[in-house]
Amino acid sequence: MVEGNITCKELVEVITSYLDDALSPEERERFERHLALCPGCRAYLVQMRATLRLLGTLSAESLPETMQRELLAAFRGLRPFSGSS
């Protein structure tokens, strides 16, 4: 292996740091250089991004109506808040 290159096996282990922008500029450059030449790793990144998109959709969950009603009532009941001035 040429010094400074990363393998596919290594790339999949630093992908989270890459996506968090937590790689050093040199590491990032190596990562992107590898990616530009490697369809397999590009496919892996696409898979990871799709996974994140899917996870993001799991935040949709509607609040039960009774809870909403009761919490709003509690919220109104507490006004005005003391000590907020």
Binding site: M1, T7, C8, K9, E10, V12, E13, I15, T16, S17, D20, A22, C38, P39, G40, C41, A43, Y44, V46, Q47, M48, A50, T51, L52, R53, L54, L55, G56, T57, L58, S59, A60, E61, S62, L63, P64, M67, Q68, E70, L71, L72, A74, F75, R76, L78, R79, P80, F81, S82, G83, S84
Partner: protein, 203 residues
């Protein structure tokens, strides 16, 4: 701190959007401690009542969000103890899980190969994958299944980061862990979920 001010000035819209925004994540986290969804919902309701009671005393030493989720955690733990459910974990314990690679090692070329560590079995290209298939109910169920098999600390981190959209800094503050630790947990969790998704979509 406009949100805090909005809450303190009695802005119902702000309160309701806050409750709604975090509902899914709260439900997931609470359910890790208590047995049923119904109890988890009660825990959430108690949490918000606690938030309202404490609002005037909140000093902003942590972010509002972390403060709210700590209340959730306390209520959920109390409830779990009352139900005498064992809580065999804490977010600080990474579970001593062996360092599992993100991808099965046999997907890569062996050390003696001309290109060691290169793909032997490259991942499938998903560029042509229809969005309807990816986001279908069935696919989601598989993801849910994968999430429940994660060790608790990983599950907490991926829930906050990827489902509820927290920053890594917020998660570190909330769980009291280092950036590096947080990233390891997130990395393992994401890798495992990706793998589950890939094997399902390959069926």
């Amino acid at each position: 701190m406009w949100l805090l001010d909005a809450l303190r000035s009695g802005d119902e819209g702000a309160f309701l959007s806050l409750v709604t925004m975090h509902y899914a994540a709260m439900l997931r986290l609470a359910q890790m401690y208590v047995g049923t969804r119904a109890v988890a919902e009660e825990v959430i309701q108690e949490t918000w009542l606690g938030v309202l009671q404490g609002l005037s005393r909140f000093e902003g030493r942590s972010s509002l969000k972390t403060w709210i989720f700590r209340i959730l955690l306390n209520r959920a733990r109390t409830r779990a103890q009352r139900e005498q459910r064992t809580i065999p974990f804490s977010a600080l314990v990474t579970g001593g899980e062996p360092n599992k690679p993100a991808v099965e090692p046999d997907a890569f070329r062996p050390p003696e190969d001309q290109y060691p560590g290169g793909w032997l079995t490259p991942p499938a290209a998903w560029d042509g994958l229809p969005e309807e298939r990816l986001l279908s109910q069935e696919t989601r169920q598989h993801i849910e299944g994968a999430l429940t098999t994660l060790p608790p600390a990983q599950r907490e981190v991926i829930t906050l980061r990827d489902i509820d959209g927290w920053s890594s800094g917020e998660v570190c503050e909330y769980l009291g862990i280092s950036e590096a630790n947080q990233r390891v947990l997130l990395h393992r969790a994401r890798s495992r979920v990706r793998r589950a998704l890939a094997s399902y979509l390959a069926e």
